[in-house]
Every structure is written in C-alpha cells, then in structure tokens.
C-alpha cells in the first residue's frame, strides 16, 4: 500500500492543522479539546546541544510537556478562567503559524503529519513578542466525528527558553 495521500486528504488535514492553530491562538480550549483523542500523548522534549559522537542521555528523560488526556484536561481547565491562571491573565496575544506540512498515511484511518509551528507571543508587560519555533510530528486519526490529534511531539529550537513560561500550546 502506498502511503501517499490524496489531494482531498491533504486538504482536509491541512485544514485541521490550521483550524487547530486558530483555536490555540484564540485560547479557545473548549473547542481545541474536542480535537484531541482519548489516547492523546502530547510531548515536548528538552532540546540539548550534543556532540555527534560521545553524546549520552542522563536519567529517563523529562520533557517540558508530557501529557495524556487527563492532565491536558486539567491544564486546559486552569487556563480557561482568569480565576485559575496568573500566567494568562490577562491573556497573551498569540499567533500560531503552521507551515511545511507533509502528510503520509499511517494506516487505514491514521496519518503522520509533519509541520513547523512558530508561535509569536506578546505579554502585556513586554513590547516585543517572544518567538519560539518547533518541528512537530503528529499522528492524526480520522473518526466518524472528524479528525482527532492522537500524538504530538514538538522539538523546539531553544535550549534555554527565552520565555518566562509556556502557558500555551504548540
């Protein structure tokens, strides 16, 4: 079986990624949550500068984010109300820019989607935006109810985050 996708499939999935980006920028978490699968795994590893030879891993690894649907729901609930978030009260101005989308079939109803994500974020107390970019590898599932994000790994391009916090999603 070829893992190529049809033009329609590509268009549908690219729309999904752009719809998702729009919801994330608007911090519309009730609606973003509807796009997540029950078996979600959302992972952002810690980027490091390593030798090509002689590199080694320390410990079992501890990503910036390592969430399943339960912990993600708690995060989204907290970020949705000014009573439960200091980091996003007032809300950041966010722009999620999705690009370099490439899609292959992962099975009958699943797709591997690679994309680049760049988030421009401005806080009330800083004039200029912080910009963090990453390469995403997603597994997206087609259901009778629309597409669902199953796994997402985001490899960010900052080894020391130039941002006081990541109170938003990639």
């Amino acid at each position: 079986m070829s893992n190529r996708v049809s033009e329609t499939e590509y268009r549908d999935l690219a729309d999904f990624l752009c719809d998702e980006a729009e919801l994330l920028s608007a911090q519309d978490y009730p609606n973003w949550q509807k796009m997540l699968a029950e078996d979600l795994h959302y992972l952002i590893p810690v980027p490091q500068f390593l030798e090509q030879v002689g590199s080694r891993e320390i410990g079992i690894g501890n990503g910036y984010f390592d969430d399943d649907i339960h912990s993600m729901r708690i995060r989204l609930e907290l970020l949705s109300s000014p009573q439960t978030t200091t980091a996003e009260h007032v809300r950041s101005m966010l722009n999620h820019v999705v690009s370099n989308i490439r899609i292959t079939k992962a099975g009958d109803d699943e797709y591997h989607c690679k994309s680049c994500i760049t988030v421009h974020r401005t806080r009330f107390n800083k004039k200029e935006p912080t910009i963090i970019s990453g390469r995403r590898q997603d597994l997206i599932r087609r259901t009778t109810d629309g597409f669902r994000l199953v796994t997402r790994q985001v490899n960010l391009n900052q080894s020391i985050l130039m941002s006081s916090n990541i109170s938003y999603f990639f």
Partner: protein, 443 residues
Amino acid sequence: MLLKENLGPADFEQLVDEQKATASRLIFTDQSIFELEQEKLFAKVWLYIGHDSEIPNPGDYVTRKMATDPVILNRGEDGNINVLLNSCSHRGTLLCTTDTGNTKGFTCAYHGWAFGLNGDLKATADDMNLYDGKVDFDTLNLKSAARVDSYAGLIFATWNNEAPDLADFLGDARWYLDLYRKRTPQGMEVLGAPHRWVVETNWKTGAVNFGADGPHAVKVHGPITQATFGIPPQAVRDSLLYSPAISMGNGHNGILPFIPESLRGQVPAFTGYPAELIELYEQCLTTAQLEVSRDLLGGVQTMFPNFSSVQAPAIFRPGGPPINMLAIRVWQPISATQMEIWNWFLVEKEASEEWKHEAMLAGVRTFSPGGTFDQDDAEAWAGITAGIAGQQSRQGDMNFQMALAYRDQIIPDFPGPGKAYPSIYGEVTEFDVLLEWQKYMTA
C-alpha cells in the same frame, strides 16, 4: 534615585532594614548592585552546580554556570570531580560548547589548545617547543574551582579558597536537606536534563520566594492546588498559616507544611509515596526527623544563596493517588532584572521504574516552564520588574513586615535544629535570606 558608583558597607546597611523588616527595591533592579554581588557574594560562597548521578563515569561532563561564569563539571579518569572554568586560558574562548557528553579532554575551537579532564594544558596551537622555553605552561592550566565538595549527591563548588567546609556552610540545614534528599541508603538520582528558562526578574526573587512565601501559595496557586493536589484552598491556607517556617542558619531557610487539622485522619502518613520507599525512610531518618516527616504535605527550601527545592504531591489522573515530585533548582543571576531557572527532578535510586516515571510526570506538569505552578509564579515575578522600573516605584520598599508579628515567636523544643517559627505566613524566613545577603554585601 540612581545609586552612586562606589557603594560601600554603609550603603548596604541601609538597603536592608532589619528593624523595619523591609528591603530597598533597588536591590532587585539596580545593575551596579548586581555587579557588586558577583564579587562580594557569588565569588565567595558555595554554589550548587550539579548532581553526582549526572556524571557517573570517568569522562562524563555537563556544562554549568557558577553565577555568570560558565564552567565544566566532569568526572576525571581517577573518579574525582573536576570543576573548570569553561574558557580557554589562551584567549578566553568558550571551550566546551555542548550541554553534556563524555570525553577525554577539551580542545579549543579557536587555536586548538587542548586540556585534560583536570584542566591541565596538554597542547598549544602547534609544537609547544615553539615557545622556546620562555613560557611556564603550568600557569596556563584551566582555572579550577578553589573547592569542590558534595552532600547527599549534591555537588557544590566555590572560587573562594577561604570558604568554610561545605559541611559547615550547610550546617544545621543538612538536617532539613536530609528530609527530602537523604532518606534511603542509595540516595537520589536526576531524572533528566535540566529545564532552563529565562524569567525577567532578579535572582533573589526566586531565592526569597522559596525561603518560603506562604500567602502567595494561596493567592497564585490555590485553585491549582485544588485541581492538581486535590486539596481545597482552605486546607492549603490552614496548613500554611499554622505550620512552621525554619531559619536553619547561614541564610538557609525553608518551610514544613503539615497536614492541617481539617484533613487529619484523611491523609495517610508520608502521603504521595509508595510503601517500599516509606519503609526505607523509616530506616534512614532519625526519630526526630521522622516526627516532622510523617505529616508533611510537601516542602520548600532555599539553601543560600540561590539553590532551592520543592516537594509536592500531584494528582493528574482522576481518582489516582497523589504522586510526590521533588524539584531542585538554581536561580542563575543574569542581570539585575533577569535570571535563568535551572531545574532538575530527583527521585530515589531504589524506586521502581514505574514510580520514577510517575514522579517525572508529576514534576514536569507542576514545577517547570510549562508547569501549572511555575508558569504562574514567573508571571508574578516578572510583574515585579515591570512594576519597579520607574523613578518613583523603585524608591519604595520590599515589605516583609509580617515578620514583625512573628519573629519573636520561636517554637520552643522544636524537634529540628535552627529557629522554627509558627507560621509560613510569617515572612521571617523569607526576609532572613536578605539579611544573610546583607552580611556578604557589607563584609
């Protein structure tokens, strides 16, 4: 008011007012004070740089910072720990440019000068005989930290030959460090690479907050504590208001938040830990340490000047048990109004692989740049910098005057050493971090 250029002890006497329990906002925003801190504090004191478990084998290294200086922490062929200034003795180029690895030595990218794991100069740009015997190569080894020592796997270093022994510097704080970091025979290990992120605030903000600040935990973290610890805000408030804060001496401070009355009987001893670890705690801790450990909900400490820790139980699965995480961190001074947080997670070596994984998840979801706790603290702390940037606002005080109500209330016969005060709302121990800072700045 901008400070005059040559600040002396008399100026620092005024900048922290012990009697009033206030500190000048300038010490959180003035760059000339920041520069003096490098010389009078960070060049003199023991600084945390890494954990034993990060460099288990000969040749293992990690790159770190001692305040503003880049250093390499490595384990030599002889098993000894080396702490080297990460700057070539020839022209100052950063020698090691990776975060971690294993190597036989370090070679400069500029002219190829090469150094052994202990910092000895091994090679210059070409044949060392070209110097015609006119240069004493022994003077061109990498600068090493004056002293390196460790406690409970925690590696500290100092540039100061005259520094007291690490054991004496930590002093009574060791009794409290043990409660979280030395309670099993094998001790602890790190779970992964450090989380590092920039916060637009002075490093002392973090050190003081972890010294530790009770009321902010209700305001900033109350609803989160409900959502992720399953503890109602009122119970958090009661725990903080009626549990002790400890001044351990030498500027080391911390808190012991106990299970509040309202939850007594509902929360088991050593909540958030598996039975097999509790068994080891019972073996390793002393009777007095066990007395204060059993009913702990968590713990927060600052080892002076900029090494802190936090333990807390998190629940991220509906109906699941609380899982304790332990984060240790350094508030790295970058400028008067910027720090980097370097944050690691620790777990007992004896823990099961499953427990290590759970403890890791509990940690990264709470105390990390994306963590439900840290993301909010960072915002409040950056708000200080934004709030005190002006000519009027920087003239004010940082207020710790709850200490006036609590500083004379030392708990008699407290099981642990140091001075125990009856409330984490008291601001006494937070302010003590600044009083210790003042001692170094006036010395």
